[in-house]
Symmetry: C2
Subunit: 550 residues, 2 copies
């Protein structure tokens, strides 16, 4: 039996974004109970760090995870941030796709306006409980809300709200009552907080877990450089977005539109664009037709423009990376590299990499970060992983074909005004070729240094081994020499040991020379000074031996 178009028409309906993610909660990272707890803590802490930083406050964050019933947990996250004004509270926590960070280009932890409301959504889906929010902006009033989400409409549902006067504090406290499972696996809340402490040494974080308290103290007493908000870059703008910007701008002329809405476009460049596109500089942006916008974009492709400004990015910097790795892993060797900023789709980004070797490190460790947030899941899908496995590690004297098989920690951090995540759960970075290229260059630069260190270290170990073998027979040899030469035994011993030592020193010098040589293969190994010193050494040793064997 054939069915008609009219039958199908009746079933057509709008789908709210809340409904969509309720059914597809694995897209938001809520695939299982262990991960669910991590996701909720992560959204809360990331928001707290964003808020305190933007308000210029050194963050002080308290987290408590407590099992109240079998597989049911109370999660409290409290910060000392600027607080949230009353009327914004319901929508920030009870409406997906609502926020302050999506419509601007700024390096932030959050960017989508989904995360914290998704935590509310998961909570009510599993336990039916609302999220409790307590907030004060420091004006002596504390607002308290209990909120759910009206899933069909994607709007906040206020269960109740209240106000308390005369309380002297400032910040936000969230209280979730959710289904979950607390485990201290590799990808746990504890690991997330440990890595967060490395990438946010200016934060103090206290965590009361079901297994006890962990405190992460502040490592530095100042906030990181504040990243600036930027305007989009003309070379990355797509036609659909350009036409919308033309329609929505407040600029009255095409010229002021170009100079005002985009970064690095001066009057001269704007005039050049208008003239090449054969368009009036004074044309009203709203009157630019679709074909004209297309022409404009054609012209822009061939106009030289400065790269976007880089003060919009705030990487950790080499010292913070190295200090973090030292503090956390206690390695015998550590190095770090910060690459210059680059651009994808018109958006600036920057990569930094740290390597730490040996010491307390027992096995390969791999840490990924985006805008100071540790990424714990979906490792295989991430541009950082693809970069690591794309490197031939043996070129740097590091064992392992695609992945290093050494006590080596790899730390990679990408900052950007818009991080391209592979899913709404923000666990992996999408593989734009220019991003892969930058990550690879950063890792390779560090790996080269590690290679030099390792080749020196291995040479040294080899010689140490030889000397130890020699020393094992020293007593015998001294005895024989003393008898043959009829010299005093103590004196023979002294000179003999001196000899070994001088040999040892010489090897150490050679190692340093060897390392230098590896770095600059063209340079001559033995300068005249050195040669002279060496022949002197040789001569003096000859004398000693002759005397001994005389």
């Amino acid at each position: 039996m054939e069915r008609k178009a009219e039958d199908f028409a009746r079933q057509q309906r709008e789908i709210s974004i809340s409904e969509f993610f309720e059914k597809n909660r694995h897209l938001l990272g809520y695939d299982n109970k262990v991960k669910a707890l991590l996701m909720i803590v992560k959204e809360g802490v990331d928001n707290a760090l964003d808020a305190t930083e933007e308000a210029g406050i050194l963050p002080d964050i308290y987290i408590r995870v407590k099992e109240v019933k079998n597989e049911r947990y109370e999660i409290i996250i409290k910060d000392n941030g600027p607080g949230i004004v009353k009327k914004q509270i319901p929508r920030i926590f009870g409406k997906l796709l609502y926020g302050s960070k999506f419509h601007r280009l700024k390096q932030n932890r959050g960017q989508q306006g989904i995360g914290i409301s998704a935590a509310t959504l998961y909570t009510q889906l599993t336990t039916g409980e609302p999220l409790e929010i307590v907030s004060s902006t420091g004006d002596g009033k504390t607002h308290k809300y209990r909120i759910k989400i009206n899933v069909r409409r994607n709007e906040p549902l206020i269960i109740d709200s209240g106000i308390e006067e005369g309380v002297d504090w400032r910040g936000v406290q969230l209280r979730f009552l959710t289904e979950g499972l607390y485990r201290e696996y590799k990808q746990s809340i504890l690991e997330y907080l440990k890595q967060t402490a490395i990438s946010n040494p200016h934060a103090r974080i206290v965590f009361d877990s079901p297994n006890g308290r962990t405190e992460f103290r502040r490592g530095v007493e100042s906030l990181p450089k504040e990243p600036k908000e930027i305007r989009p870059h003309l070379h990355g703008v797509e036609l659909g977005i350009l036409t919308r910007m033309l329609r929505e701008t407040k600029a009255r002329t095409l010229l002021s539109f170009l100079t005002g809405e985009f970064t690095k476009v001066g009057r001269k460049t704007a005039k050049e664009i208008c003239s090449k596109a054969e368009m009036e500089e004074n044309k009203k942006p709203k009157s630019v037709k679709d074909e004209d916008a297309r022409k404009l974009l054609e012209v822009i492709k061939d106009v030289k423009l400065l790269k976007p400004p880089t003060d919009c990015l705030s990487p950790l910097g080499n010292e913070v990376v190295k200090e973090g790795l030292r503090k956390e892993l206690n390695p015998e060797w550590v190095e770090s590299i910060t690459r210059p900023p680059e651009v994808y789709r018109g958006w600036p980004f920057q990569v930094e990499c740290g390597l730490a070797y040996g010491g307390s490190i027992q096995e390969p460790k791999f840490m990924r970060f985006a805008n100071r947030v540790p990424l714990l899941y979906q490792q295989g899908d991430c541009a950082i992983t693809k970069s690591v496995t794309g490197i031939d590690w043996r070129r740097y004297k590091i064992n392992g074909k695609r992945i290093p098989e050494e006590p080596l920690a790899i730390f990679v951090h990408l900052v950007s005004v818009w991080v391209p995540f592979t899913s709404e759960s923000k666990e992996a970075i999408a593989s734009y070729p220019v991003i892969i290229k930058e990550i690879k260059l950063a890792i390779q630069e560090c790996a080269r240094k590690l290679g030099l260190y390792l080749s020196g270290k291995r040479k040294h170990e080899y010689h140490q081994h030889r000397i130890r073998t020699f020393e094992r027979y020293a007593e015998e040899t001294i005895k024989a020499l003393s008898e043959l030469s009829e010299e005093d035994r103590e004196r023979v011993k002294r000179e003999f040991l001196e000899l070994i030592n001088s040999n040892n020193n010489k090897i150490t010098e050679e190692e340093n020379g060897g390392a230098k040589e590896a770095e600059k293969p063209g340079e001559e190994r033995d300068g005249p000074d050195r040669e002279e010193r060496k022949s002197k050494d040789r001569a003096s040793r000859q004398v000693t031996l002759e005397r001994l064997l005389r």
Copy 2:
């Protein structure tokens, strides 16, 4: 300088789902120009197949991809489906999260209400051009629309529309003008259509590519079994969804709510649930409080329920899988398995697997399908891939540790009323443990059969090799035997070759016996009949040889 909560409040804004995906277009699969063309064709063809099938029409689909300018393509997709009623056209193609398939549980290709509007979104983003839709429901009127999306509001923007009377056809034709790049790589439109033809042998598909026409003829003249829409299963329902269903139901009593809104809940079971939860059967569903709903769910956990019905699923079936693999790959061996249905999160699903070996297959080939749609990207992230790499292939005499290194094609198809994809681009299946388990069991069952075939084949090859060696010296031996026995040379030759042949047949018999043995290790290899036959053979050969050497 500290900033205040008030400063931040001003920046808070709603984000439309269109804006979200415009900025995150890689989430929808639009990462690059080659893939963009595939995505558009795929959305169009999947919709056409869904529509024709649901309307009970044998699909006849025409696709044309034509380069109109450098990296600018015209894509036409035309079907013979039921058409779309006039007033639905704009929203179906010009609004994300709008459709007929999200709110029901039915095995469909589409399910999200995103795909085809995403194609419109990408087109207008890259070329600024609207999508042109021509549709007729077969009533003699043809409606034509040109549509864009108002991204800020996620609403369709009708550029123009018209109507033509007296045209005798029925169906939908789409015309995109998009940026892209046509390549016939591994993951191309052509490959997608090839695989689509395998999983939809009832469809006729004609594809005019920039490189010429390819036609996929109908393999069967009947539509697949129509999958039924089902109601949710109580054991999969989550608290948040239960409370919403209680609020929205038209049922007047709790009893009729339970029996009417869920699958496999009879009056007896419903009564049992009410009594265990200590709730009135006649209670109005709307008056059930949150705590009561929680109690209801607690009780439901322990109530025995029948599994969901399986007529909601329509797998291809063994014959179609095998025929498809034979037609497409021309292998020397093929086998297929359909598993019984299973359930995840309350939703039924079913797995079928086909293996094809040798013949025209040159290298390992891997085909993934979900609800008859081929999955070409994000292979590493897919539950099917994880199942394949989780199998120890050597156990089945197949070379390769995690991935078979043989001329072997692996075909896996998952059907479900709701396929859990890992992203909106629907390229990989999420790794629910029960799904992985079912896929593994299906593959292993096929692999076992392939193992038997391969061990027989290898034994046969070994013996053939031995016989060939023997035959190489046959002439010499015959000559010598004839001279020694003074028998006629032609007679010696005849008897000698008979002997080789009988030996050959015997080996073939043994192989079959061997294969049987492998299947049932407990069974005795040589029955009395067989033993008898063997000794007869041996005796007759003895006679011949004796005669020859007499």
